[in-house]
Symmetry: C2
Subunit: 551 residues, 2 copies
């Protein structure tokens, strides 16, 4: 039993009882058999208790220093604790977890009670040359919590679950939130008082405030609420050289933004211990609207024009034709999307509009605010949709999406158990560059899958939208090549990332860089990274903090 | 004749022919006589041609290197060029300019044509140990362009007026803008194509895009359009170690924000050569509304509640009772504010509502957008104002404000000529802390003025508003103490700034830090500043860039 019972299941996204099953979705299973070749029967992953880990490299003196810092019951070097804290939720992590062959294993898990504990632990780490990996919910999909040791004696993981307070200032609509507070706990506390953070990443159930800030994450409603770097107004970080607390002010011209140096630092500068975030009153009105648009290019223009006209939906979910097909298939037989909006209606509408069913794209918009504001926005959207000859689908797809919004990652577990390579990656770019970048990334993924000898598919959606550009989120699936699983995946990932960099996208819009991505020099060039190294050297001169990540 | 004819007049804010005159405002003059004691007759400042400057410290070899870099006609070490580029527009600068006693003088002014020129010049500066001061419009009010030499052989000023292109991408609503482009030129180019940057600082006529980015500036419409750090999406900076160009993407999770390290760097990391900024379509509808609110506390709550209810005015201008009185007095006899809204109406309304005329606060809101959007926002504001028993003043004060929005700084010239110490400073804080901070700053300014033996006054407004807090902008006036002008002013400035720091405000919301402010350690603590120094050391190892500023 892992002390932090909020960490989701070993070798799985979440609790098995919550996972949807392919058995309930025969149409999807048939689709996958058709696209990838017949799937294997499911093979269960290795049980956590059976995972073998190397002996802890922690010296007795180092271990004692940790115990002196926080007490013996807060230093855990049991096999299961160490294993459970040594992987995140990337495809590479899941492969390692399923087989029990972990890339590296933390030497102890330590549970600080508060920022003072963190500071004392960093001193102990410094004294005993220990690498330090901050750990929130462990949902990184880019190897962010992998306990790389670097050149140090050993690596320890700080599980921040006990730094979980939430304190609300209703006058300023600000909440001070502990780094280890989990999504549902934060929202529960705020909602009870009539507020919301508005930050709902797909990992919401299992991820923490500190993790969101450390990785520069985005919630599914970021188009209206902003990414975490806009939501967070101040932050406290314990570094090996002391604590930095940025001032909580709504804006400042006092030099470069120290806050924005810390947001996205992924544990490489220190341990983010808490932050102050803006909250908003719970909206009085919420509405979903959805449409089929004739093709990808037209659908992108529809969303762009809407944003540039000043309409700001809370949720934007624009699926390409492949993902639209997938979504229609994933609808379970017991009340999914296609059934609820009516097959007959769609067939009729498609015929009437002469849309090509293979090209149509589903666009889902959610609006929140006052009754009047939402009504006005819906009217603008409906008018723009009318000008695109879009087929209106009403509010059902939106409600269906909302109900299932956190379940998609669960599906990966069963796909992996059935021999499928499945991963996601994402980027962002300007509107003008979007289709160019998109073609390059799809092409690179498709070619790399083909080169691996597998059959596969790639699909995309736009889900975080700005007046100047948008994110692009890719999911790719292919038959896993037994024996060369990692090489196969690495080839696809590298090809896609290189295409992103070469086509003026960003390495990541909200997943972060971690260990698995190309180094930051690919994004910013060597000089900017030297600047970041200069910053790191000042705060973490011995390079203890999350080695081999980011820079 | 200064080559850069866009630099406003010597020892004055702008062109004398545009300056309003106290002679046209007898009521204001009477008010000042009453508040400060009878003003002196005006004394004109020293003419630029009569200013004496020390000989240039530039060695012949260094001068030749600059000439080799850009050509002889682009290196100017004439007295007038050097003097004109050695002061900004702070009170301290104006005192120095009026008397011709400059704190320090640049050794040459160089006019690069483009980024390549800047890079070559930085190499020459490095070879010959020259401090480099980037110069846009020279409107810094915190000593940002003062050519401090540090430990170097000499200081040169790079006037960026020729880096002034504006290139629009209408698909992405982005404009790439040269650092030296002036406000009116940028807007003229954009407006012709149906767009606006929406960035109108009070210095708009005389300041440049690069200056806005370097100082983290704010326009008067920032409540809707955002501060420059939100408007700018990418930036290019030439540092002594090479060029950094951040990716133009709408958002990124690729590590800490390199962009936000450069925005606000005030020339200390390198020379910002251009940036890409979001633009917006010109609004279809614009409307002003204004009210008298019974007192400061009620007025602050009115604006806060509006913002927190999701209403986002473009312009917010909430004057305290002192500034309200001043604004009513500054109305010229020929069509000013009070005359146009009708004295009789105001008297009647004040009586009817039983407001104390000494406590009333003027609140001015501007709205922009679609007809429907503006109508909705105006309705919400009117309803909230009704709940506060506010006295509606219609659209006249707003239109009057807009007409005069850039003229207020001109008034300083005549005030200074008549023996008045007049300066402004600003900060920002959360709503919860606003009244506490406000009391502390007013108290500190008032006490320091009194301690100097002068009569004086301090007034404030809130003009940049967020759901979580607001800026506070102070203007103070007092009789100047002849012979100890600088000490008198420094005592007030230091007291106010210390009060800001001690009361959880920020050192600056949009003026920047420059040379005249408290060092950044007061804002962030020593460790964060060591981080910034680490960053600077990586990009500017010899410390050539704008020495003695910021850190």
């Amino acid at each position: 039993m892992i002390r932090n019972d909020r960490i989701s299941e070993w070798a799985a996204w979440g609790r098995p009882e919550d996972a949807p099953s392919l058995a309930d979705r025969p149409a999807l299973l048939a689709y996958l058999d058709e696209e990838l070749g017949k799937l294997d029967p499911p093979v269960p992953p290795l049980d956590l208790e059976l995972v073998k880990v190397p002996a802890s490299r922690l010296s007795p003196a180092a271990r004692q220093a940790l115990v002196d810092a926080v007490g013996g019951n807060r230093v855990d070097d049991s096999t299961s604790e160490r294993a459970a804290h040594s992987v995140g939720k990337s495809y590479r992590d899941m492969l390692a977890a399923c087989t029990g062959r972990l890339a590296c294993v933390t030497d102890a898990v330590v549970y600080p009670r508060d920022e003072a504990d963190v500071s004392v632990l960093l001193t102990a780490a410094s004294d005993h040359d220990l690498a330090v990996v901050p750990f929130g919910g462990g949902t990184s999909v880019v190897g962010g919590v992998e306990p790389r040791c670097g050149k140090h004696q050993a690596a320890i993981t700080l599980d921040l679950m006990d730094l979980n307070g939430v304190e609300l200032d209703t006058t300023s609509q600000l909440a001070e939130i502990g780094a280890g507070a989990f999504g549902p706990d934060i929202e529960r506390g705020l909602t009870a008082q009539g507020y919301t953070l508005g930050h709902f990443p797909q990992s919401f159930e299992f991820s923490t405030f500190g993790g969101w800030v450390a990785t520069r994450g985005a919630g599914q409603q970021s188009t209206a609420y902003g990414k975490i770097e806009e939501i967070v107004q101040a932050v406290r970080i314990a570094t090996p050289r002391g604590v930095i607390a940025t001032r909580c002010v709504p804006a400042s011209a006092a030099g470069p933004s120290v806050l924005q140096q810390i947001v996205g630092s992924e544990g490489t500068l220190g341990v983010i211990t808490s932050g102050t975030a803006r909250v908003r009153s719970l909206p009085g009105c919420r509405r979903f609207r959805a449409w089929f648009l004739p093709d990808w290019s037209g659908a992108v223009s529809f969303v762009r024009d809407l944003l540039q006209a000043g309409v700001r939906p809370t949720v934007v979910r624009l699926s390409d034709s492949e993902e639209t097909r997938w979504l229609l298939k994933t609808a379970s037989q017991t009340g999914g999307l296609i059934r609820r909006i009516g097959k007959a209606y769609i067939r009729h509408a498609l015929r009437a509009r002469r849309f090509d069913p293979d090209q149509i794209c589903l666009c889902l918009l959610g609006f929140e605010g006052t009754d009047d504001g939402v009504r006005l926005a819906c009217r603008s959207a409906a008018q723009a949709a009318g000008e695109c000859q879009a087929i209106g689908l009403g509010s059902t797809p939106g409600r269906s999406w909302e109900r299932d919004r956190f379940t998609l990652p669960y599906l990966r577990d069963e796909l992996m158990a059935r021999g499928v390579m499945v991963d996601t990656l994402e980027t962002a770019t300007t509107w003008r560059n979007l289709e160019h970048l998109d073609r390059a990334v799809r092409g690179a993924i498709t070619a790399a899958i083909q080169a691996s000898g597998s059959r596969g598919t790639v699909m995309a959606h736009v889900s975080h939208v700005y007046a100047t550009g948008a994110s692009l989120y890719y999911t790719f699936l292919a038959r896993r090549q037994a024996g060369s699983e990692l090489d196969q995946w690495q080839a696809v990932k590298t090809a896609a990332t290189q295409a992103i960099v070469d086509s003026d996208g960003t390495l990541s819009h909200h997943h972060g860089i971690g260990y698995e991505h190309l180094p930051l020099t690919a994004e910013h060039g060597p000089l900017a990274v030297e600047g970041l190294r200069g910053l790191k050297a000042a705060l973490d001169p011995d390079g203890l903090m999350n080695p081999e990540k980011l820079v």
